[in-house]
Structures are given as structure tokens and as C-alpha cells.
């Protein structure tokens, strides 16, 4: 009996035909689907406009992926635990503006490492607050974080300030300009890959390690799979909830500092409204909105796809207003495919 029950489970993963097998494999590996979309978009755009293949374009995409990527990793962790967070952009805006203000006015000589740490700490505190509220109020995290988003953003604008900081601290300015690679192209123009892409790389590795190699990481998926069962098995829901929201806040805080450093401008009105785009990227990367799934690699691919679409469609003459149509179609497509996946399992 044991052999037969097992073989019936295993046979589903084996392929009857090549196409069906490929399809089944794709269903099990959603990030592959994202990768296919990335390759398809690249090939199409690249065929129409060969400028796409410039190193500078690659650098641009990577640069633009950093802030999105950090946000997305945070969203991934929250989604995997069965929650959702829409307050991270407000947290990032608050932290980046308040930290910039603090450094400019109080400690102008603060080194970048300390600034990043301060941003991370501030973000983590806001995030932990989200986690505590979600746990104590037993309220849906969507509602709680919509609330905290409004509160944080309006607190920032009312009490902290609305004036832009054009002259950001020297350490942040230098950090934004610091190049990892500099590429001189044949036509004499220079493009640089900023060093802060390394922060996304490190954050990705750390997030992967936490999710896959620690007990808390497995607990995040366990709670996302079935919170009631996880609690009965002894997983501490409070710890998990506070952790995921604090972690998302921490990454949002770092992302805020990088956003300011890269733009050389601290604008408290920035980042508002970017939440859905980030959540879409994570879902495009294979995480289910209902929780319990998603991977770091998928999330990164989802971010690249979103960034690609919003950066390169202009190269083939698609007006920027149309980019959102493409993103929207991709999301519906991904949603439809993963819903089929859900029904099959």
C-alpha cells in the first residue's frame, strides 16, 4: 500500500509527454515562468532596438532594481507568512527623510555605515509595530498596514517636514556615486554600476539564508501554510508576525537610505503609491498572495521583470503610459497561470 500511494504522488511529477511535462515543471517552478517572460521581453525589445544590448542599459536596470528589490524581499517574507504589507513605502519615506534631516542638522559627519544602520533600525521599529498590531488586534494585515501607512506618511508630512533636502549629507552623496564597475563604451560615454547593488546582493543572500536555513524561516512558511496548525504544533505566532513585519521594515529603511543616496535628494513625497507594483513583482516571481510560498530567486526575477518593462519599453517607442498596460497584462497572466496551478494541486 505504501508503495502504491507513493507512486501515485510521484507519477504526477513525471511527464507523460514532453509538452505536458514542461508545463507541469513550469507549474512547479513559477520563477522559470518569470524568467521566460524576461527573456521574451529582452529578445523582442533587443530585436527592435539594438541599443537594448548596451552595457549602460544593463547597469540602469540593475540600479533601478535595488530599491525595488529590497522592498520586494521584505514583501516576500511577509507574504510567505500569510500576511501582506502595504506600509513599507511610507516607512521608507519616513526613515529616509528623518534620517537625512537628523544627519544634516545634528551629525553631519556620520559615516554611511551608521546612516544605513540607523535607517535599518528605524524601519525595523516601525515594522515591529505593524507586527504587534497585527498580532494583538488579530486584524487582517492588509487593513492594519493601510492604517499605519496613512499614519506614518501623514505624521511625516505634518510634524517632520515637507521641504526637500537638495544637499544630502556628504557620506550619502559619496555612497550614491561610489561605482562598482565603470564601463567606457565605444562612443566615449561612460556608465557606472553603483556599489549599492551589493547591498541588494547581500540582502538577497541573507533573506535566502533566513528563509531556507533557519528555524524562523521555516516557521514563516509554516504559519503562511496554515497558521492554526502551526500554532498547535508549537510555532510561536507572535514571534513570527513581529519578525516578518520588522524584517520588511528593516529592508524598507535601508531601501529609503539608498533611494536618497542614489537620487541625491530627500523628498518626503517620494515612493508613495509604489506598494502595488512591488507586491505585483513578488507575485510575478511565484509567491502566492494567500501565503506559504515564494522564493528569493523568484522575487528577484519578478523585480527584474517589472523594472525591465518600466525601463526599456521606451526604447521600442512604447509610450510610458502604455508600460502599465504591459505590466497589468503580465500580472493577470501570472495570476491566471498560478490559479490553474492552485486548482491542480
Amino acid at each position: 500500500m505504501t508503495e502504491t500511494t507513493f507512486s501515485s504522488a510521484a507519477s504526477r511529477s513525471e511527464s507523460p509527454g514532453a509538452t505536458a511535462g514542461l508545463w507541469a515543471w513550469l507549474m512547479r517552478h513559477p520563477p522559470a515562468f518569470t524568467l521566460i517572460l524576461i527573456v521574451a521581453v529582452s529578445l523582442i525589445v533587443g530585436a527592435i532596438n539594438t541599443d537594448f544590448w548596451q552595457v549602460s542599459n544593463l547597469f540602469d536596470i540593475l540600479r533601478a532594481s535595488v530599491v525595488r528589490g529590497l522592498f520586494a524581499l521584505g514583501v516576500l517574507v511577509v507574504l510567505a507568512s500569510g500576511g501582506i504589507d502595504v506600509s513599507f513605502t511610507a516607512i521608507a519615506a519616513f526613515v529616509m527623510y528623518a534620517v537625512t534631516m537628523l544627519v544634516v542638522n545634528v551629525v553631519p559627519g556620520m559615516p554611511i555605515v551608521a546612516i544605513l544602520a540607523l535607517g535599518a533600525l528605524g524601519g525595523a521599529c516601525f515594522g515591529a509595530l505593524n507586527g504587534v498590531l497585527v498580532h494583538v488586534l488579530k486584524a487582517p494585515s492588509l487593513i492594519v498596514t493601510i492604517g499605519t501607512q496613512y499614519v506614518i506618511r501623514s505624521f511625516l508630512l505634518t510634524f517632520v517636514g515637507t521641504a526637500l533636502f537638495m544637499n544630502i549629507p556628504a557620506a550619502m552623496d559619496a555612497f550614491g556615486k561610489l561605482a562598482l564597475f565603470t564601463h567606457h563604451s565605444a562612443n566615449g560615454s561612460t556608465s557606472t554600476l553603483p556599489a549599492f547593488v551589493l547591498i541588494l546582493a547581500v540582502a538577497s543572500l541573507v533573506t535566502w539564508w533566513i528563509l531556507e536555513r533557519t528555524l524562523i524561516g521555516r516557521a514563516v512558511y509554516a504559519v503562511g501554510g496554515n497558521a492554526g496548525v502551526a500554532e498547535r504544533l508549537g510555532y510561536n505566532l507572535r514571534t513570527v508576525r513581529i519578525f516578518v513585519f520588522a524584517y520588511a521594515g528593516l529592508l524598507a529603511g535601508i531601501a529609503g537610505i539608498i533611494h536618497v543616496s542614489s537620487n541625491r535628494l530627500a523628498n518626503p513625497f517620494d515612493l508613495a503609491g509604489a506598494e502595488l507594483e512591488i507586491i505585483a513583482a513578488v507575485v510575478l516571481g511565484g509567491a502566492r498572495i494567500t501565503g506559504g510560498s515564494g522564493s528569493v530567486i523568484g522575487t528577484l526575477l519578478g523585480v527584474v521583470l517589472i523594472t525591465l518593462v518600466s525601463n526599456v519599453l521606451i526604447l521600442v517607442g512604447i509610450p510610458s503610459t502604455w508600460q502599465l498596460v504591459i505590466v497589468g497584462i503580465f500580472i493577470i497572466l501570472a495570476g491566471a497561470i498560478f490559479s490553474i496551478r492552485g486548482r491542480q494541486s
Binding site: M1, T2, E3, T5, F6, S8, A9, A10, R12, S13, E212, R213, T214, L215, I216, G217, R218, A219, Y221, A222, G224, G225, N226, V229, A230, E231, R232, L233, G234, Y235, N236, T239, V240, F243, G292, S293, S345
Partner: protein, 522 residues
Amino acid sequence: MQPQQNGGEPHLKPATPFLEVRNIEKHFGGVRALKGVSFSIEAGNIYHLMGENGCGKSTLIKIISGAQGADAGELLIDGETVTGLTPVAALAKGIETVYQDFSLLPNLSVAENIGLTQQLVSSSGKLARRLDIPKMRATAERALAAVGLPANRAFLSTRTDELPMATRQLIAIARAIASDARLVIMDEPTTALTKHEVDNLLGVVDRLRAKGVAVLFVTHKLDECKSLGGRAIIMRDGQKVAECDVETHSKADLAFWMTGKVLDDTRQRSAVTLGEKLLNVEKLSRSGFFADVSLSLRKGEIVGITGLLDSGRNELALALAGVSPADGGGIFLEGNEIRLVKPADAIASGIGYVPEDRLSEGLFLSQSIKDNIVVPVLDRLRNAIGIVDGRRSRALAARTVDDLQVVSAGVDKPVQSLSGGNQQRVLIGRWLTIEPKLLILHGPTVGVDVGSKDTIYRIIQRLAGDGMGVIIISDDLPELLQNSDRIMVMRKGRVVKTFTAEGLAEDVLSRALTDDTIARLQ
């Protein structure tokens, strides 16, 4: 306290029991769920915690496994009082629970489901720990081998929601015995299993017992309890009403203690006068599932259909309900051919279908009893401007609830607040609102306790008495023998034998399920 050696001398006190429960009480709001329950559990023995739904046995299990605290009373493990027991602490003490719903994490792998708990226990529930993957895998391999499941890489990394129910059940058991269990609590472990798998499970239980592990079954299945032996702890209404050796008492005794009623398990069916012909099914087929099924049914007649899981009995039921239509043959109701391609067709023809899985296919759990009952007749309850008449639907629901003796705190309470037997009655009541000519009951008493079973049987008999045709699809053979006029046995998609139920022995029926030569000879 020092454990004492028994040494076989009668005047010495026996060794300290592994677990002792003393005067446990628990309140939920104003309801006293447990009113001072005491018993003890010794290593290497088998116990059956028995009682009807709502008697407090689930609450008791939750207290022993640390999921809930008691309001009063003591819990002693190895003779020492424990307070503030948490799930992790209970696990650390060797108390493992296999929950009725298996409590597997659907999105995690087999290895994780089995092995993570142990790591959680060794970190005392702290989550900031590195995952020891090789150890997790080794634990899982060992536990899987113990329950007779394969332990290869592919299986270890399979998500549990991709596995069949029976395999999930075994994985839940594997998790319980993965660490050094001293007491394994199994909450209704055999509900999802076939006969063969139950035997396999019993083998596992024997091995556990041989290792000195105590096993506590939470059950209301008298047959299984009798075949396993051990001690029965019987609860009713939050109290322990009896404790005895299973061998020394009859099933009737146990059932009496559980329900407080004398239940008769004799045939409910007596001489009935059958009406005119109601249903005629001619050579009905659905390719790949069943073929050439013919069946006729008179008004007031009850026909049972049984067979193994792959016999096509479920698909036949679904075809008659219009859920998955047949692709050959014909269905005639009162002489007219009817076409059933969707459930609405069956309802329009006067066929009510009570599905097997009432939780996922039948009931809207979070909605009120009233709304669940009036669903099929909303059209009829609409007033002039198309709004459902609240007063009339309430009256209809109240009448139905009354009629079927549903025990509830009112028709506005959600269905999920009811016990299994009462939920099933609500579901039957729903179909009675369409005043069906034919009622198809698919596993009418799955997961229903003894007392409720009895009530449901009486309802079925009464309906047939009123002239309704009834088809019962079930693998509970005593149920069919008690309730039907004829029993159709299916095997590999075909009807192999139709018995007259009167005077039929269970073992004859049971053999017909698997052995078609015997079925032909009968």
C-alpha cells in the same frame, strides 16, 4: 516521587503512571466543558477515550497536549505536577498528538513536516536557530521507515498537499513517533483510511506498544475499539462516566455509556409496502468509471450501493446527482427520461443529493443554519420585489430543524457551531425543502457519532415511509444492512451482485466487495 517496582506482588503499589489527570475542569464562557475528569495512563498500554461529539474529549486532548490550559485540576507527568504546559513543553515530555485533521503544513515537505517539530522541541520553541537539515532528514527517514513509507529523496521533498489522504495520515503518525514519544494520542485516526490501511496502522500501534509507548485513541468507533483491546475511558457531557477493560464489556454497554441511551443496532427496516416505480436507470455508463449500471427503485424503497473506493460507486452517485454526468445509458424518473448534466437539473427533477464530504462540498460553514437550509428554495421564498422573505425562510428553517431534531442554539447560529451529526442533519434538511422524490445519501454517517447515527437512520426510515425513494452509497456495511431493502455491490465500475438485505450476513456482503467469484456463486 520514586518510581516503584511492581514485581508482581499484589500488595505493592503499581509503578507511577506516565500521565495522571486529576479533576480537570474547563469552562468556555458559561459552558462547563469538563467537569472534573480524572484518569491515568500507564506506559505500554492502549486506551480509548470515547464519547459522542461535544462530550469534552477534544478539549481534554487539547489540555493534555498543551494547546489549552485547564481552569482547575492537576496534570502529573511521571508523578510530578506540571503547570503551564505549552505544545512544545508537552512534546518535550514525550506527549505526541496525531490530530484528526492531521495538522500537516500543506506547503512544507514531508521531511519538514516530520523533522521540524523535533528541532522546535530541542530549541524549546525558540525560533532563532539554524536549521539542521541533515538531522531533519535523518529523523524523517527513520520515522517514515517505522510507519512503512518510502524514505527516498523524492518522497522526502514532496509537499504534503500533493499526497493522498491515507499517506498524509501516516505522515502525521510518523511525525508523532519521530521523537521519543511516550504517549501518542490519536484523534479519530482511521476516518480517512481503508481497511487495509487501518491494518497497517494497527501494526504501527503494536510496535509502539512493544517499545513501552502508551497509545490513546480518541474515537467513537466501537468495532475498532473492540478489535484493539485495552482500556476504555468513556465520557459524556464533560464527565468520565465509565472506565473499563474493553474485553470485558459488550459494544452495547459501551454505546450505552457514551450516549446514555439504549441503541438498537438491529435492522431498522421492517415489512414495508412499496409504491409504484420511481426510478429506472438503464445501462448507465461513464467511460473510465462505471459501465452498464442498471437499477430500479420504487417509491418508499431504500437501495444501498457499496463497493471499494475504485468501484465506481462514488462516480455513479455523482452522475445521479448531475455533478459529473454519465456519458451513456438513460435515467428515467416516473417513466420520463431525464437528462442530468448539472446539479440544477437534478434539483429540478426532484433529486436531492447529500454529498459525502459535507464540509467541503455541502455546507456553507460560516453561514447560519437558516441560510444553509433555504438555499435550494430561494426562488420560492422570494417576495414580489425579488427579495427573500426573511420571515418565511426563518419559518421553513425552524420547521426543518424541528423536524430533524437538530440540536442548536437557534437557526441564526453558524453551521460550524454544530456537531458533525447535527451538521449532517442540516444538510439532509436542506434537501428536504425541495420535497424530493428521490434522495441520494452519500456516506450519510461519516464522522458522525453513535447517537446521531441512530437519529439519522430514523430520519431515513421515516422519509422512505412517506414514499420517498432513497439511495444510500456507503462503505459502512452494517449501516446498509440495517437500513436498506436491497444492496448493490459494485466492483471495477460494474454491478457484480444485488442482494436482498433481509437476512443477509455481513461477511457475505463483505466478501462480495473484493471477490467476484464468490459474488457470482451466491
